[in-house]
Symmetry: C2
Subunit: 347 residues, 2 copies
């Protein structure tokens, strides 16, 4: 043991050697804790020291290591958001609402995409939780048992959004898709339509879309009616798919007088296709959509649809998480933000 390890530093395993708080502290002639404080709560450090620290930080290009900070404090300032899709305009709106609030509170949003798979959702939840997030926002109320268990036992604020359920894991902000579907059904019935077809994507399993259909079916059942036809597609929603669907409906069930599409993308595609084929909307065939996306009101005939409070859902969910993190109790854990029937000319 003459020369092995005697240098005392050759065995260090460092690779990148970023600037650390200690180096800043040395240069500024303060303790590391003061550097730490200067970053997290500048007012608690005298302006003299703060200036010296600022100088050192700038000179050395110090960037605090969040991993170390998170490990030590078990607070990371992150809030993962788990959603099933990005391609649909629905989720970007929600995410926008969330990120505005989180950003204002210095929280970092992490986005995860499940592609409508509960297995991927579970994997994402596990991954995110292993990062010790401060809170978590997740779309939907349908999860695997393990996902529920993980979230419930995580001890952090959990907000399930978009849909509402009777037994949320923790907080729940959204609206009832069943009620929304029912409202559309009631409206269509009120307009005199009786032979109604339903079209939905499954993507592969969009529970909320199915719930909207269920609500519409309920409305029909209340009048002893049932859907004249039902089309469920495995593919992603798109204008093209809506166009195909409406063609199929008309071909297979010419008696149908109205079609409810589970989302606006399908419905708009259908409206366009009808205009191409000379099918009068709504005289020959009424068309209704869901979500109230911008373009629904830009086509002619304007789409009759259900406007959903997407941005508001995101905003409130994020605010509830923030409240919780601030240690304040949140009053209504379960919030039904409702929806609005937008009557256009298509139905």
């Amino acid at each position: 043991m003459s020369d092995i390890g005697t240098t005392g530093q050759s065995r260090k395993r460092r690779r990148k050697s970023r600037v650390t708080a200690r180096e800043v502290a040395l240069r500024a002639g303060v303790g590391t804790m003061t550097v730490s404080r200067a970053f997290r709560n500048p007012e608690s450090v005298s302006s003299d020291l703060r200036a010296r620290i600022d100088e050192a930080v700038a000179a050395l290009g110090y960037v605090p290591n969040r991993l170390a900070g998170g490990l030590a404090s078990s607070r990371t300032g992150t809030v993962p958001v788990i959603i099933p899709s990005l391609s649909n305009n629905v989720f970007p709106d929600i995410v926008d609402g969330i990120s505005g609030v989180l950003q204002a509170h210095n929280l970092q949003m992490l986005l995860g995409n499940t592609r409508y798979s509960l297995e991927e959702e579970e994997a994402l939840a596990a991954t995110f939780l292993s990062w010790s997030p401060d809170g978590i926002i997740i779309a939907g109320t349908d999860h695997t048992e393990r996902t529920r268990a993980m979230l419930a036992s995580s001890g952090i604020p959990v907000a399930e959004i978009i849909d509402i359920a009777d037994d949320p894991i923790d907080m729940n902000i959204g609206f009832s898709h069943v009620e929304a579907g029912k409202a559309m059904g009631t409206y269509l019935l009120g307009r005199g339509y009786r032979r109604i077809a339903l079209v939905a994507p499954l993507c592969p399993r969009d529970q909320r879309a199915l719930r909207r259909l269920a609500g519409l079916r309920e409305a029909l059942a209340a009048r002893d009616l049932e859907p004249t036809a039902e089309l469920l597609y495995e593919d992603r929603s798109s204008w093209r798919l809506g166009a195909e669907a409406v063609v199929r409906v008309v071909a297979e069930r010419p008696d149908v007088d109205a079609v409810f599409f589970a989302n606006d993308d399908l419905a708009v595609g259908a409206v366009q296709e009808c205009s191409r084929r000379g099918i009068a909307v709504p005289e020959q065939l009424a068309i209704a959509g869901f979500n109230g996306l911008e373009f629904a009101s830009e086509i002619r005939p304007r789409l009759t649809t259900i406007v959903t409070p997407r941005r508001e859902i995101g905003r409130q969910a994020a605010e509830m998480v923030v409240e919780r993190l601030a240690g304040r109790a949140v009053d209504a854990l379960r919030r039904d933000l409702g929806f609005r029937l937008l009557v256009g000319e298509s139905a």
Copy 2:
């Protein structure tokens, strides 16, 4: 001081006391290192011990703490993606391309949204870097000096995407927006249009949109022409904005025979508005868009636009980052994936 702090463990600051590797190791009767190996490289652990560890993990519900792992190894398995917007369909496509590849390689994608602000971009880059990411993908080639410096000195693979530049920070995958604009200009000129108006959003500063306009202007200049009118909007692109823009153009410059919109959202809104107002497209007014979004081909007249390789950009960028992380050299650091002129009926 009879009972305060005398127990010797009450002073520990633990709060959540998650299950740790040590507990798993104890239960399985192995060392912590073996637990660690069992997670990262299962083959290197004998099947006997592995089984015991698996049992303990399941029984205790152990989830490794990524913060600790990342701090110790300085590898976190994360790749932040910084984009300017989500509302536009353009970015979800790119993100999809990226996330598919990253997911396949067990890398976690983190999404950041700059809202087209270079300041927010800088803040995001700093935040993400403080999480010790393995690589980073960032939209665009225009950054603040500090952003460039941070990324360049980070020592991790950096992929700038969508646009191409002469002096990328590291890797660069995209296409030339100038060339794309020029291609559209050449096409429009070839079709006989001479009095061309340009419309773009700034959002507030979408450099790529401006470059497309610049390219178009170049094409005009080659024939000693210049744009008949230019409209730049601060608002986000939308159908409505496109509709407003086309109305304004027609009102203010009735002599305009073609309008180039910097993106399809605007262009489609314009086409719709024209059909509402009985303006014949393209006979009275030709309309061209940019991006090749799905709905561009679903309206009538079909939009003439430039199709951009969005998903492919995302895919290749992610793959280049993955290659680098695997220690392999990437052959072409700078890749121009080109674009495609899609001739519809609108111009």
